[in-house]
C-alpha cells in the first residue's frame, strides 16, 4: 500500500512539472509534448536493462541441485516402501 502511494506521488509530481512546463513554455511547445513519451520510453529501457542484468547474473546453485536430486530419490524410495504408486501417466 505504501509503495503505490509513492508511485502515485511520483506520477503526480511529474505531471505537475510537465503541466507547468506547458503553461510557462520555457521550452518550445512541441518539444514539451515529447516529454511524456520520453518518460515512457526510458521506463521501458530501464525495465529491459533490469531484465538483461538479471539474466546476466542469474544465480545458479549446482550443489543445491545435486542435494535436491538426492532428496527426490530418497522420497521416492520412502513412498514406494509405503505402497504409493509413483508411475507417471
Amino acid at each position: 500500500m505504501k509503495h503505490i502511494v509513492k508511485i502515485l506521488a511520483l506520477v503526480v509530481a511529474i505531471t505537475v512539472l510537465w503541466i507547468g512546463l506547458l503553461q510557462t513554455s520555457v521550452i518550445p511547445y512541441n518539444h514539451t509534448w515529447l516529454l511524456p513519451i520520453y518518460f515512457v520510453v526510458s521506463l521501458g529501457c530501464y525495465g529491459l536493462l533490469m531484465v538483461g542484468v538479471g539474466l546476466m547474473n542469474f544465480p545458479t546453485c549446482p550443489q543445491e541441485a545435486l542435494l535436491l536430486q538426492k532428496d527426490i530419490v530418497e522420497a521416492k524410495e520412502y513412498l514406494k516402501q509405503k505402497g504409493v504408486d509413483l508411475t507417471l501417466n
Binding site: 521550452i27 518550445p28 512541441n30 518539444h31 509534448w33 515529447l34 516529454l35 513519451i37 520520453y38 515512457v40 520510453v41 526510458s42 521501458g44 529501457c45 530501464y46 529491459l48 536493462l49 531484465v51 538483461g52 542484468v53 538479471g54 539474466l55 546476466m56 542469474f58 545458479t60
Partner: protein, 80 residues
C-alpha cells in the same frame, strides 16, 4: 544453456542502453542543435519520435492480447 542465457541478457542490456542513448539524444539534445548542423542527417524528423514508440506500443499490446486470448482458449479446451 547458461552461456546462452548470459548472451541473451547481455544483448538485452546493450539494446536497451543503445535505444535509451539514441532516444535521449534525439529528443533532449537535438532541439538545441542548429538546424543546418550535420548531426541532423543521422536522425529522422521529429514526428517519428512520437510515431515509432506509439506504434511499437500498440503492436506490443496487440501481441499481448493475442497471446492472452490463445492461452485462455487453450485452457478452456483442456477443461472440456
Amino acid at each position: 544453456m547458461e552461456l546462452a542465457d548470459r548472451a541473451v541478457g547481455f544483448l538485452l542490456s546493450v539494446t536497451s542502453l543503445s535505444i535509451f542513448t539514441y532516444y535521449t539524444f534525439w529528443v533532449i539534445i537535438l532541439p538545441f542543435v542548429d538546424d543546418d548542423h550535420f548531426v541532423h542527417k543521422y536522425f529522422l524528423p521529429q514526428e517519428y519520435a512520437i510515431l515509432i514508440p506509439v506504434s511499437a506500443g500498440v503492436t506490443l499490446l496487440c501481441f499481448l492480447s493475442i497471446f492472452v486470448g490463445v492461452v485462455m482458449l487453450k485452457s478452456k479446451r483442456k477443461k472440456a
